[in-house]
């Protein structure tokens, strides 16, 4: 059963139709990279898959659940790292992890996860004082925390140093063969290196790159 199945998916903002009806499938265990020019709607596509945005039309099935008809059932099966990695300024990374784990109803060892994502020394500092790269790592930790059947990463490598990049690749390697992952990326070379399959999004839909 695919982690993500989209068919005839459309999204319209006012008079503007983002794409022609598009189809996209991410198999369980497959890592797919989504390339596309700025503003073509990569983030919107990821947010639709995460049930954070409503599609104008089309079918959307996440890990076997019809996400259009019952988004609340589909949402726990998805992990989304939104663009710009938003966090609560007043809360520390440690608090974010504990809070997100309780929301998902999963047990987590915050300290171990923070070390895994290289955030040991920033663990107890309010997110307001973290660097963009550190915020990115916290957002990645949150999205991957429940080891969701479908992981959606919006520009995961931005603002990451070499160590951060290897952590993302480690995360992808840990999921390969088990869970589905869809990443929005810019750099085609990077996409080919870290993903099993690379597709491109434009006004006419999604095509193998």
């Amino acid at each position: 059963m695919p982690a993500l199945w989209m068919s005839g998916l459309r999204k319209r903002f006012g008079a503007r139709e983002l794409w022609a009806p598009l189809d996209l499938t991410v198999e369980a265990g497959e890592t797919v990279a989504l390339l596309g020019a700025n503003g073509v709607g990569k983030s919107t596509l990821l947010r639709i898959a995460a049930t954070a945005s409503r599609p104008t039309a089309g079918a959307l099935v996440v890990d076997g659940v019809d996400a259009v008809r019952s988004p609340d059932q589909a949402r726990p099966r998805v992990g989304l790292q939104p663009q710009d990695a938003p966090l609560y300024a007043e809360l520390t990374p440690h608090e974010h992890l504990r809070w997100w784990a309780r929301l998902h109803g999963v047990a987590v060892d915050p300290d171990a996860t923070l070390v895994q994502f290289g955030l040991a020394q920033a663990a107890h500092r309010p997110s307001a004082v973290l660097s963009r790269g550190q915020r990115q790592r916290v957002a990645l930790a949150l999205a991957s925390l429940p080891d969701p059947p479908l992981l959606l990463l919006d520009e995961p490598f931005t603002a990451l140093d070499a160590a951060g990049a290897t952590q993302v690749e480690a995360l992808l390697a840990a999921r390969r063969g088990r869970k589905g992952t869809l990443m929005a990326l810019h750099d085609e070379a990077l996409a080919r290196r870290v993903a099993d399959r690379v597709v491109r999004l434009d006004r006419t839909g999604v095509h193998p790159a």
């Binding site: 903002f13 947010r47 995460a50 049930t51 954070a52 945005s53 409503r54 609340d72 949402r75 726990p76 998805v78 992990g79 989304l80 939104p82 663009q83 710009d84 938003p86 966090l87 609560y88 300024a89 007043e90 809360l91 608090e95 809070w99 997100w100 309780r102 929301l103 998902h104 109803g105 949150l142 429940p146």
Partner: protein
């Protein structure tokens, strides 16, 4: 949705408000500001029940709006709404958890106003005066949270929020002031049954409607 998850949301919203303690402090100062202003105009409120009613209700209306606005503005600006929309809980729970925290703050501000009114202008410190303010605070916290969530997604939200809140709060203020006038006239609670019933009824209707509107309000584009 299990209450464990709702408690997690409550914890997050409460932690954000209490961590900085700014919003409680700012709210108290805001309310007291109105009372200081009143000192300039009214050396005493004895024999002026209508003025006293305005003195009691105006700060509550404004402070409830301002504080609710602050919380939602931060969510909208930092994009954390996106995070919430991906959280494994219905959108409604985010609205409700934020409202519950706002309710506690608004009730606290009503208490501050109530005490300040008694201390500064010797307004009667009785249940008859306190109950309308409490019921009003409940309704105002619901409407202020909804208005703030609306304004947070618009431009110049600080101007827009009171403009949205006042028409919605009109029935609350009318009934609340009527009940307060009855209390200031020394009448027992039974005399103010009509306005108090209106207050309680409007609170329930506002809560009921908010259950339907929160998911629509917080929905992602």
């Amino acid at each position: 949705m299990s209450d464990g998850r709702f408690r997690a949301l409550l914890w997050k919203d409460a932690r954000r408000e209490l961590r900085g303690k700014e919003s409680i402090a700012a709210g108290v100062v805001l309310v007291l500001l109105f009372y200081v202003l009143d000192l300039f105009a009214f050396p005493t409120l004895a024999g002026a029940p209508r003025t006293a009613a305005a003195v009691l209700w105006t700060p509550l209306l404004y402070a409830a709006g301002a504080l609710a606005g602050r919380a939602w503005a931060a969510e909208a600006d930092r994009g954390t709404l996106e995070l919430l929309r991906a959280a494994p809980v219905p959108l409604l729970s985010h609205g409700l958890s934020r409202w519950v925290v706002n309710l506690v703050i608004t009730l606290a501000l009503a208490l501050v106003g109530f005490v300040a009114g008694g201390a500064l202008f010797a307004l009667p410190v009785t249940v008859e005066v306190a109950l309308p303010l409490a019921l009003g605070a409940v309704g105002l916290s619901i409407l202020a949270s909804l208005a703030a969530a609306l304004a947070a997604q618009a431009r110049s939200r600080d101007v827009l929020l009171p403009i949205l809140l006042v028409p919605l709060a009109a029935p609350l203020l009318q009934a609340g002031i009527a009940a307060t006038l009855s209390a200031l006239a020394g009448l027992p609670l039974s005399e103010a049954r009509a306005p108090l019933l209106v207050l309680a009824a409007y609170d329930l209707v506002a809560l009921g409607v908010s259950l339907v509107l929160w998911p629509i309000l917080l929905e992602g584009e």
